[in-house]
Amino acid sequence: MCMRTGYRLAAALIFALMSGGALAAMAAQSWRIDETHTSIGFKLDATGFPTTRGQFRHYTGRIAIDLDRPASSSTSFTVESASVDVGSQSYNDFVKSAALLHVAKFPTLSFASTQVEKLDPRTARVTGNLTMLGVTKPIALTVNVEPDPSAKGPAKGRLAFSATATIRRSDFGMIFGLPLIDDTIEITVKTRALTDE
């Protein structure tokens, strides 16, 4: 498992999906995540309060690719819950408190894929288990992949990924503020994968 601060979900995922055609030649390539263009974010609405958009700054991840059998590909990642950033120290402290993320008791959030399904040449559905506040529930991410239009530098191949999912926080026991704070949280993971081969 790679323990650096990085997130290697999308590259392997898309490789698993884009079997055949022009991408088949990339089967043997090694890809790395462009950490400067990787983010794990979320959005939460509330009545009478501006929409909160936050990010997690520290995370680790692992991917496994099987280009011949994309459905056998997998990924898992772990997020440090205390690395949440919602814009100010006092607001961060509140989000980390027992009312919401309760980081003292639950220092990590994690996701492990169980299924990868190609929907079209640029879209896939990744299903897996999200564990938050000690509760594990299945969620599905919709992953879009595009050639990176800003490709520069020595890397020959670049792909930009955007994965989104909507969860109900009450499913994980996070009920603070209902109904004034929405139950649904929109998760967005963006990344770019690079290869020099």
Binding site: P50, G87, L180
Partner: protein
């Protein structure tokens, strides 16, 4: 002239009330950033708690103080002045108390950290309908207080520059 402690509390309260009214309006109507809104709300609540503390102290001092001799003005004007002052005292208690109970009864029960020093105790538990009631009281009271403050300031200026009496000097100005 009013005693020094009452004069000081009057001007400190005036500054705090204007700050709280201004901040409350600004943070609700003009702040789109949630973190800024969160922080400004804490500041707004801290100022409100301070206003309440000064008002309680002021009331204790006021009931034990003989007012300076009033300027010779028409009885109706005097009655209006007394009514306005009473209204100000009522709103200076009602506004922070309703805000306190809003913070106590909202389902979004965020600790009120008064200037980062201590957490304000919450006397009531979360209850959405009760929160909505105190929210309405708080908004209406804020509008009334803003109006009364404007009237109060205008009246003081009339005393000073139109009638040229000693009213404003009794509060230590001029």
């Amino acid at each position: 002239m009013w005693p020094l402690p009452l004069r000081l509390i009057h001007w400190i309260s005036a500054a705090l009330v204007i700050a709280a009214l201004g901040l409350g309006t600004y943070m609700v109507w003009f702040v789109d950033d949630p973190a800024a809104r969160f922080d400004l709300t804490q500041t707004h609540k801290s100022i409100g708690v301070t206003v309440l503390a000064f008002t309680m102290l002021r009331l204790c001092l006021r009931i034990r103080t003989t007012a300076p001799e009033a300027e010779p003005i028409a009885p109706l004007t005097q009655l209006a002045a007394k009514a306005a002052h009473l209204g100000l005292y009522v709103l200076l208690v009602l506004l922070p108390v309703s805000g306190w109970l809003m913070a106590s009864t909202t389902p979004v029960r965020i600790p009120t950290r008064v200037f980062g020093l201590f957490d304000l105790p919450y006397p009531l538990g979360p209850d959405l309908p009760v929160f909505r009631f105190f929210h309405a009281v708080h908004v209406v009271a804020a509008i009334l207080l803003a109006g009364l403050v404007a009237l109060h300031v205008a009246a003081a200026l009339v005393h000073a520059f139109c009638w040229r009496d000693r009213t404003l000097r009794r509060m230590g100005v001029g």
